[in-house]
């Protein structure tokens, strides 16, 4: 039976391991036990020393490397990282993830790309690890994990409000009855057997719930726990002096992310920062909702349309239109290092649209100017400045679904809208369509300075 902490490092077992072994001092020291374990891992590639983590810090970095390469690198080879899927690694792994979380939590915001990477990679690792277990063991582990994480007999959907709130789980993906999330077969049969006609109830259970939903809940809960821990560290950080070792690891993680975010061989589907092509804006490819916003909005929807929708749309469309394809987060300065494009092109457009509103937005509500800057990731400040970057998040454009709820009067879908779920995807698609329909806006020229607009 594998250790629970192999999957959930934030279990009490995991906490015990940290308490017992978690001295920051030895973190950079070569650890023979770890070396041996890595070499012994099934199908581990050992042809090159660099494949092998030599200490806890190394192991933390390997996790980052694994996740980014798995996602972005076409030449990714699982055997380079087989040790991560070796259950025997559990104790080392626990120490390494706590180290990572502390290093990141001290230096960065939990919502930074470093923070998100940690959370996402942990979720992915849980999935990969479960997948590699023998079916019987897998079931057993899953049940144990659930029992530990969920103390009541039945999980109430309301106890998952954090997962719902962070969109890690969709309510509609679960089978609910009387407020309970139905997970166990027996329970399912008791509740629903009478209702099912013409089908085998057991099979219905396997199709609708089975182990899938349980595993999904587990991996999402562990992600949430990781995020919460990160948050906790981050909140404590100003109160205690950070250990220099942690700061160093934080720095190394950040470097690693930069280094591995772009793989030339990956055919443009690079991760964080990959495949970024800032190009001139092409207003004829803007979706209807954005066009309407630029023309000006009446008082009801005005603030959200400018501050939330337009600000994020224009900045991403100009700087990082492929953000969704790459699933990563980014900072404006990754693409616009001296903020010249942001200050000279993007912000003026937003302010102009704000002026077109009725009544003009900033006359009424000067505070909203600060909010625009905040939504670009520069905190609540008058101007975007590098030293403030990261104080807030660079907001991605809200989805069409959200727009339909919050700003319904702006959504006047056309044919292209049918194929997309976000105004930014509309923009990408439409540009592509325009290019291919022989429209005389060749992509080359729109990237050069010959733009006549």
């Amino acid at each position: 039976m594998v250790l629970i902490s192999y999957l959930n490092p934030f279990s009490s077992e995991g906490e015990d391991i940290v308490r017992e072994k978690g001295s920051i001092e030895g973190i950079f020291e070569v650890n023979p036990e770890l070396l041996q374990l890595v070499r012994d891992s099934k199908s581990q590639n050992i042809s090159d020393d660099s494949y092998i983590p030599k200490n806890y810090a190394d192991l933390a970095l390997k996790r980052v490397e694994w996740y980014l390469r798995r996602k972005n690198d076409k030449k990714y080879n699982h055997n380079d990282y087989a040790f991560l899927i070796n259950p025997k690694i559990a104790k080392f792994d626990v120490i390494s993830i706590y180290t990572m979380a502390q290093a990141i939590g001290i230096k960065f915001n939990p919502k930074s790309r470093e923070g998100r990477l940690l959370v996402e990679s942990q979720g992915k690792l849980v999935e990969d690890r479960l997948e590699k277990l023998a079916p019987i063991e897998r079931k057993e582990v899953v049940n144990n994990l659930l029992n530990q994480m969920i103390t009541q007999d039945n999980i109430k959907w309301t106890s998952m409000s954090q997962l719902l709130g962070s969109k890690k789980i969709n309510l509609t993906d679960m089978i609910l009855d009387q407020g309970d999330v139905v997970l166990e077969k027996e329970d399912f049969l008791i509740r629903f057997e009478d209702k099912i006609e013409g089908r085998v109830p057991e099979k219905m259970y396997d199709l609708l719930i089975g182990e899938k939903i349980k595993e999904m809940i587990i991996s999402r809960m562990i992600m949430q726990k990781t995020e919460n821990y990160l948050q906790k560290v981050h909140e404590m950080a100003p109160k205690i002096e950070a250990h220099p070792t942690l700061l160093e690891i934080g720095e190394q993680i950040s470097e690693k992310i930069k280094e591995l975010s772009y793989f030339p061989g990956s055919g443009g589907s690079g991760g964080f920062g990959g495949d970024i092509k800032a190009t001139q804006l092409q207003p004829d490819a803007f979706p209807p909702c954005i066009q309407k916003t630029i023309e000006g909005v009446g008082s009801g929807n005005r603030n959200d349309a400018i501050v939330l929708l337009l600000t994020s749309f224009l900045s991403y469309a100009r700087l990082y239109p492929s953000v969704f394809r790459n699933e990563g987060t980014s900072k404006i300065s990754d693409i616009d290092p001296d903020l010249q494009i942001t200050i000279n092109e993007i912000i003026p457009l937003i302010f102009e649209a704000a002026d077109n509103c009725n009544p003009p937005l900033f006359d009424d509500d000067p505070q909203e100017k600060l909010n625009v800057i905040a939504k670009l990731g520069f905190g609540v400040n008058k101007d975007p400045e590098l030293k403030h970057e990261g104080e807030s998040k660079w907001y991605t454009p809200m989805s069409c679904d959200k727009i339909k709820i919050h700003l319904s009067s702006l959504c006047k879908p056309d044919a292209t809208c049918k194929k997309i779920g976000n105004p930014l995807s509309y923009y990408n698609r439409k540009r592509w369509e325009l290019r291919n329909s022989g429209d005389k806006t060749p992509s080359k020229s729109s990237e050069s300075d010959s733009d006549k607009d």
């Binding site: 309301t158 409000s161 309510l171 009855d177 009387q178 609708l208 089975g210 879908p413 049918k418």
Partner: protein, 326 residues
């Protein structure tokens, strides 16, 4: 019927008919933790952030000012006067008869028919809120032109906006359930096709009910991008099969791709059954039960039994029945 009321009528109402003791318990309790807002001139609530320490103070205010409209917050605050220290909010669904996207009457504001259809929709939503989501402490308020479902279940009052929007999507059926399912340990296999109507439980069952309601109440003029006039015509032609729950036959008549389009289209319409903004807003103010909806001269009131409630019998103030020609 449904005419605005004059200041004189409002005064009469608040003097002779209105009684602060009629306020529902869920409002009287913790009255001082809510924010109140008023509309004195019929131009929207701009007298906001008011707080009443006791029902008696509210009573005096209402008698003296006879406002055009009165509202109170769904949120509870420690310092309601500044909306400070938010504690929790009721979970709310607002079904306004005039905005219901599928109405067989086709009228352009409100009539008896769409008021009653709003009532049926509300009953359906409550059913799901109880059955599936297990929520308790659910109150229904007739708002004067529709219904508010106000949920004071402690487990739900702490939900954030995103959580609320997920609940909303679940209960109205705003997303088609997936129709391809995989068996355990059979990855790589072809998926099983299982339409929502062949799954008699969970969200697919909720969705089936909502779709059924919509199909049976379409009047043919509804605009859905996914549904062209020809498809709409066929849906109306074959809809009695849906009435009889012969979904398989219905889907055959329509064809699988067009069926998917129809389901997509209706799920988007369903989103409009409830005013989503109200549901996800934690600091909303809602019309105060017992107060007068002056635009239509109806009383906003708690509904004890939604199955039998008839606003035209219960929510009409005296001064209206005494109006000439009523």
């Amino acid at each position: 019927m449904f005419e605005p009321s004059t200041l004189e009528e409002r005064r009469r109402y608040y003097r002779d008919e209105w009684n602060v003791n009629d306020l529902p318990d869920f409002i009287r309790k913790d009255l001082s933790k809510r924010e109140f807002g008023f509309d004195h001139l019929g131009r929207g609530p701009n007298d906001r952030y008011r707080v009443f320490k006791t029902p008696d103070m509210l009573k005096r205010f209402m008698r003296y000012r006879s406002p055009f409209a009165a509202y109170c917050s769904v949120a509870f605050y420690n310092k309601p006067r500044k909306r400070g220290e938010w504690l929790k909010s009721e979970l709310v669904f607002d079904v306004d008869a005039k905005d219901v996207p599928v109405r067989s009457c086709g009228c352009d504001s409100v009539c008896e028919i769409c008021l009653d259809e709003a009532r049926q929709i509300v009953a359906g939503l409550i059913d799901t809120l109880k059955q599936d989501l297990g929520l308790k402490n659910i109150h229904v308020i007739y708002s004067g032109r529709g219904y508010h479902i106000r949920i004071l279940d402690e487990t739900a009052m702490g939900l954030d906006s995103e959580g609320r929007s997920q609940v909303l999507k679940y209960v109205v059926g705003a997303e088609p359930p997936k129709n391809k399912y995989f068996m355990e340990d059979e990855s790589g296999q072809k998926p099983y096709e299982l339409e929502h109507f062949s799954i008699p439980l969970g969200y697919p069952a909720v969705f089936t009910k909502r779709i059924k309601y919509a199909i049976l109440h379409l009047n043919g003029t509804e605009k859905m991008e996914e549904v062209n006039p020809k498809l709409m015509k066929d849906v109306l032609k074959y809809r009695e099969m849906v009435q009889k729950d012969e979904w398989g036959l219905f889907k055959n008549k329509i064809g699988p791709i067009r069926y998917r389009n129809l389901v997509e289209g209706i799920s988007k319409l369903n989103m409009g059954l409830v005013d989503a903004k109200v549901s996800i807003d934690l600091k909303r103010i809602l019309r105060m039960p017992t107060s007068l909806h002056s635009k239509v001269s109806m009383r906003c009131m708690e509904v004890k039994n939604i199955e039998t409630f008839d606003p035209l019998k219960k929510a009409v103030p005296k001064f209206v029945s005494e109006r000439k020609g009523y």
